[in-house]
Point group: D3
Chain length 161, copies 6
């Protein structure tokens, strides 16, 4: 067994969601979950089928994001993993809808940060072991940071003051 890192650079104004599911129907079900989430969402989905022809299955409503998701899923090549790139929407808009897709097992990351996916490869195949999502913590927030955080969340309307 050896470990390997696949780096995912998220395109500008996009977010990436990485998880695992099972069964080729996953790509159609994820497609429907996403079109139900946000009226103008654009997205691409790649899913690693892991038996039979073992193809990367892909869907989407944006050709560029679909191509990117398929290529990145192939670079991962981890059985039953999926990767989604979204635009015009944020992960908080879609995560609950993705989680409800009946094939989905877990979600490893939802982020706009540079993402490193840590894989294990055996003679049989490959699997996700973890992710490095963005950067290492630099300190613990102090009272003034807390104040600034709260003000920011209320200013953008996510929280009420």
């Amino acid at each position: 067994m050896k470990f390997e890192i696949v780096k995912i650079d998220v395109p500008k104004d996009c977010n990436v969601i990485l998880g695992t599911a099972h069964f080729i129907k996953t790509v159609e079900d994820l497609y429907e979950a996403l079109v139900n989430s946000v009226p103008n969402i654009k997205f691409g989905i790649g899913f690693c089928e892991s038996s039979g022809p073992c193809l990367v299955r892909h869907e989407g409503n944006d050709e560029e994001l679909r191509r990117l998701a398929a290529e990145k899923a192939f670079e991962l090549s981890c059985g039953h993993s999926f990767i989604i790139f979204i635009k015009n929407a944020y992960p908080i808009n879609v995560l609950d809808k993705i989680r409800k897709v009946p094939e989905v097992c877990t979600i490893y990351a939802a982020t706009a940060n540079p993402l490193q996916v840590i894989l294990a490869e055996t003679e049989q195949g490959r699997g996700i072991v973890g992710v490095v999502d963005g950067f290492k913590s630099k300190g613990i927030e102090k009272d003034e940071d807390i104040r600034a955080r709260k003000e920011f969340l209320r200013k953008i309307g996510y929280k009420l003051g």
Copy 2:
């Protein structure tokens, strides 16, 4: 810390589900979640208690699957992990019901593929690090593969045409 691989061969016509939870009540709650899912489902559950007597707790309504689940859970010996073998039902029928069990943390895999569970062992105990679920991707599906996939899903009645 050392890494180790436990191989799980899923019996014919069965699927395996691997996850983590906590508290010995998990086995009874998983039992009830599964009997509520599909009228004729057969299953066995093994759960690794990780304090006190540290026994593998097990339940089920099929003696053979119950024995298998208990033995495989013991082979894993990862604190608070559970393993379920199901027959007469598919993971899409049961995953949402398993996820709602109040002790469940995460689901690592739901599959009929050969499964390799990657563990870490320390002086304290053992934990799941990842899974290799089936085989490595062989390529990205092309237009004709997409067509065949869609036709197949509509032929078996999972999707409407």
Copy 3:
């Protein structure tokens, strides 16, 4: 890439919950989810912001648990991970409410056991790879253990006889 272990000793009468989410709003949303769960719950939350200032964000309604959660999150320094210490409540009371927080991705552990968090560190940052939750299994429960388990769960009122 190197692996590292962070040890978490859960204070007496407390439980710890470890997971991943995204976005600094997570700490406020987790706060609200927890106050909605159990009337007298006491808790502290730490969350590793992983872009911009990369601070550990923290909230809570108990100063000691809040300080502990912030310090342990900083010790983890895994981008987008969160850690919660709870008192006067059990994980089964709160896990579903945590899972519904729109930023949450996955939950790695919910336990009162000693917990070892296995991390991977790269040049970019750090990520959770797995956990060792309590101790290795010592055997498979036998008929008398099953009987004792069922009696115990019925005696404490968690299950009906």
Copy 4:
């Protein structure tokens, strides 16, 4: 405004589920939710579109149940209501999957009993006001009834003893 009762006799070995949703996509989404629930489920769905052509939309994988659901939905003619007849499955197997369909508002009944649907009709249209599901209570269970109930649920394997 006048009140009216529509009587629904559930066919042998079937159950009926009555609820409200919105949007014609409901029938396809309910179809998919039901095929995901139980491997051999048979069902028919009728849904009252309530704008434009105002047709009863219907789907299913059993011609007889589909015809029945369409006819009963038309007899109800309550805007945005749906009615489902299922065979080879019980409501406990499917209710959570129906509730997750993104168009569904509420579920009024899930039963094998004779069902009376109480409607209100105005100049504009019709709406469900309530249901009479089976028969009036005849008494409060006594200790021996409780014992018999618990034994029955444990004998059929729905609960563990």
Copy 5:
């Protein structure tokens, strides 16, 4: 068909939850959902079985609340309805857990207010038509009321300022 009102006075420091479900297992499943919700919760559950013996089924961990729930359920006598009285917990702590019980259809009210349940009675049986939960609105809140409401919610720790 005639309409009738059943009045429910909620005991001091208690809340009542009224809904519909199906199948006698409901009382055991509601029991378990409630004991999983809040460590010291006290409750009584009554459920109107609506076929066969048509008994009010009841469970609980507080004799007085159990007796009250059984009697009020019998006063309602609406097929497949349930009524729950809770103490040491609030509806926000338990509603999601009740909704996940696989037999539950809908929830009509969760309140500490005086509650009037409007029923319809036919020759066949009885059904809930609606509830009057507390009192009629007296006006629309003004700026000073909004300010007071927000301050109150932040003072009791339910919302962050």
Copy 6:
């Protein structure tokens, strides 16, 4: 007891959602659920507090929709009911997020149709009895209608062909 109808005309390009909840925190929790749903959503919320001052509580991020929701909630004056007007989003985008708000009991309608809310008024207060959502069914769809429906849903991208 007398019955009454309140008519709700949904503004152009808007949808209305009608339901019941409890506790004044509902308006803040619904606010947050809605801002988490769709990036550009505009909405107003009105909620009928039904004890103490019995004011209509309101929130929103669009003054006109907020005013409308408060006024319509006051016209309803049904204890613990809420009404939401949304723009730039559809009910399928938000219903699951509304249902997860811990105070919410049920959802009566989600529609762009003219809506009649049927109320019951007693000496104590008022309650929702049902809704007439749009218009009465005019017939059962035929093969050509089914074909047209499927084509439409696939053309707008909600379903895959």
